[in-house]
């Protein structure tokens, strides 16, 4: 069945079956990608997939069912299963649908530079990316992957209270992953670009960024174990931001998993830290007018000058906390838009010179396993550079960084002015943490 006809039929079937409250969500993604290896195309994909999700509410409990194949038989399946599931949920929390009557702001999210993209020969672009990487330095050992991708995502959300929303997002990216060797050591580096403006189509710049970085890593040494002042590069600190997101999720607070319980209005971090969720950032990768439950999105400071201002709520957790929804709902979870650390005034170089002796962390590894939200303890694999006499020194072979997220937030000395979203929705400038335990 054609997708909108399926949605209409599903909507009508719910009404005919006297379902009081329901919500239908449709999503579709269309993507294409290309990979070049050794000057030949090795992989090309063309994809198209859709999904319909039905939520049925019964006495404040929402049951969910989804399908991908939009055949008429699945209409009864969705209704039967979503209804059955709503009857089996027995938790005390009450859930809601949103009626769509709020005010939605007009937003200008990231869109790729489609005109330049149309004229771009993607195969030639990737071939040149690979070739120039090998040419630029003889220590380049292997260009492991060069890839290009492009696509669009579409969502439609409608419910029995009158909500009726639609949105479409587009994206395009190029990616290179390579390794360098001096005959003994092998080091890798990757670089991605999102084709936001003409500058992003510059092969030479992409090659230079990736090659300069990977070659620098060949001059490497092991760190001596100890406590060091650490400067996180923005890209690495984005991982810490994702951990912070978990701490401010109302659900984790209500389930007593976050220690930020009863901390609203209190100091939870160093006064140099302000964390913002901005759905309206022009050209932002997370920019959007509404959340996953259809509520209008809102600009908010989560932490301002170290003081906790709000949690991230969906309709259910906001009701439980007697708070207003924060426009961060996403079904049972929460979502953020452009979630970032507000930049400070000093440049990265100034911070490095002020730290004098310490460590720059440019990447964290094993994030999915090395962090326990309940205790706040973390221990990750990390890499980066030493700071010697206020200057960037040698690359440091993989080491571990251990600490506790709550202490880390309190021990931030300064934040830089070099906010970096790294083509995503999380952004941070360089962040200086007074002391962390590093080990090799």
């Amino acid at each position: 069945m054609e997708s909108m006809a399926f949605l209409d039929a599903l909507f009508d079937a719910c009404k005919n079956k006297k379902i009081q409250a329901f919500q239908v969500q449709y999503s579709r993604a269309q993507t294409q990608s290309l990979e070049v290896f050794e000057q030949k195309i090795t992989k090309q994909t063309h994809n198209n997939a859709q999904k319909v999700l039905l939520k049925i509410m019964h006495e404040g409990k929402i049951g969910v069912a989804f399908c991908e194949n939009l055949c008429p038989n699945n209409i009864d399946y969705l209704i039967e299963k979503a209804k059955e599931n709503s009857l089996l949920i027995d938790c005390d929390d009450i859930d809601f649908f949103y009626d769509g009557k709020g005010k939605y702001k007009k937003v200008t999210p990231y869109v790729p530079d489609l005109k330049t993209l149309q004229d771009l020969d993607k195969f030639e672009f990737l071939k040149s990316l690979e070739q120039k990487s090998y040419q630029s330095d003889k220590r380049i050992n292997k260009v492991i992957t060069t890839a290009f991708g492009q696509g669009e995502k579409e969502i439609v959300m409608r419910n029995s209270l009158g909500l009726n929303l639609a949105d479409k997002q587009q994206f395009a990216y190029a990616y290179i992953y390579l390794s360098a060797t001096d005959g003994k050591l092998v080091k890798t580096e990757s670089k991605e670009t999102a084709f936001q403006s003409k500058d992003d189509f510059d092969v030479n710049k992409m090659v230079e960024d990736a090659v300069t970085k990977v070659v620098k890593k060949l001059d490497a040494k092991d760190i001596s174990n100890g406590c060091y002042p650490v400067l996180f590069e923005g890209k690495a600190f984005n991982n810490i931001l994702m951990m912070l997101k978990g701490l401010v999720e109302a659900k984790n607070v209500q389930e007593h998993k976050s220690k930020f319980e009863e901390k609203l209005g209190k100091t939870v971090a160093s006064d140099v830290l302000t964390v913002v969720d901005d759905p309206f950032l022009s050209g932002g990768f997370g920019t959007g007018a509404f959340d996953g439950e259809g509520c209008p999105s809102q600009y908010k400071e989560i932490i301002k000058d170290g003081v906790l201002q709000t949690y991230l709520y969906n309709l259910k957790t906001a009701h439980k906390a007697h708070a207003l929804p924060s426009g961060n709902g996403d079904g049972n979870d929460v979502m953020v838009f452009n979630f970032y650390v507000k930049p400070g005034k000093k440049s990265k170089e100034t911070l490095i010179s002020e730290i004098k002796n310490g460590v720059i962390i440019d990447a964290l590894n094993g994030i999915h396993a090395g962090y326990d939200i309940v205790s706040g303890d973390f221990s990750f694999g990390a890499s980066g550079f030493e700071i010697v006499d206020g200057k960037i020194g040698q690359y440091l072979n993989q080491f571990t960084v251990s600490g506790n997220i709550y202490h880390l937030l309190e021990n931030i000395v300064a934040v830089g002015n070099d906010l970096d979203f790294d083509y995503g929705q999380y952004g941070a400038p360089s962040v200086w943490v007074s002391s962390l335990n590093l080990s090799k």
Partner: protein, 463 residues
Amino acid sequence: MLDKNLVQDVLSAALETGGDFAEVFVENSNSLAIKCGAGKIQEIDEGIVYGVGIRIFKGLFQTYAYTNIIDRDNLLKTARCAASAIKNNNEKQLINVVNLTNVDLENLHRVLRFPEQVKKEDKIDLLKQVSAATYDINPLIYRVDIRYMDKKRQILVANSDGVWVEDTQCRTRLFANTIAQRGTRSESATHSLGGLKGFELYDALDIEKFAQENASKALIKLDSIDCPSGKMPVVIHNGFGGVIFHEACGHALEATAVAKGASVFNNMQGKKIASDIVSAVDDGTIPNAWGSANIDDEGNKTERKQLIKNGILNSYMIDKFGSRRMNRRANGTGRRQNYKFIPTSRMSNTFIEPGKSSFDEIIASTEQGLFAKTMSGGSVNTATGDFNFSVDEGYIIEKGKIKQPVRGAKLIGNCADILMKIDMVGNNLDLACGMCGSISGSIPVTVGQPTIRVSEITVGGQK
């Protein structure tokens, strides 16, 4: 799942532009997830994943397209869309007739009670019993979350070699997360059980024992001290401890890394990569194991592969496309999360084989070090060999005895180095289930090993 004539036509359309191999993958998966938090049912999510992926090879080029609009016109359109990526110099439409023949498959993984044969109320009952049993262990347990998952995955693989093969893969898993709190200190622990089985998996479950094992981990962690940092001998326990081999070696033996010459174990077959006492296997045929299946997602029968024998690298894990670049036979390891992913070489049930030492001997002969009793996962860079993984439950070893529990330990190292430093292998092989993420998505895998000792490894702790 699809009509054979239609699939034949789709394969023929896929080969129109000169491809030398075409494959149709059809998946129809019914899944159910139930979450029980604080003794009450919080979320139930269920649905059907249904789609078709069409793949074409020409030499060392592959093209892929997927869709979930399943009708004749759209499937032919999708096949031709994929085929359009192949430039046919003759500009003449090639005629390819594909005759599909059923592959007889012996089902090695019998399922007694499929998910749809069990009432949801019975599944909910199980969750509530496990939850209540965990709370009952100790008043310090203050939050228990239990998740239940089942999935019946029906797949069809048909290709231009004439293969038509179908399989039904039924998996279920129970996953518990428990938090213990004393004063201002709280600690959490996880525990799970899973198999390529139906609901009969839980018939043999000792609920109290499961609850006890889960709760005691969280309770012990309440008394843990900061873990010391630095290089030291580490004893890694059996079962999920096998994640060390999965990360430190397994991924680097996958054609995904090896075929492009981007693995630390490139060109090492027949050479020594581990100490003499290390032999390791990847075996997708173990009956009803979490990472098993009758066939891989390319329609090849799964196999038992001796990866390492007495320290010597014996075999890689090779998928169909990787086999072309490597000029070797594919060995039943092409796997994918679902039809939205191109399959690539992946692990199934991967473990170090048992050795001669007893657990007690290993601990007693360790003067000073760390005992990593349970692990919680890790990652690896296959090109450099750098890996990391986290210790969930760890203890100090002093003078051959297990002492205080420690928290927050991370182990890091390099593949090439660590396998050589395994100096004791126990006789107590055990397996444990987990999920593995890579370029073809998140898939169920088993890791395992007997207790082993690594003579020196970097431990990152807070002290």
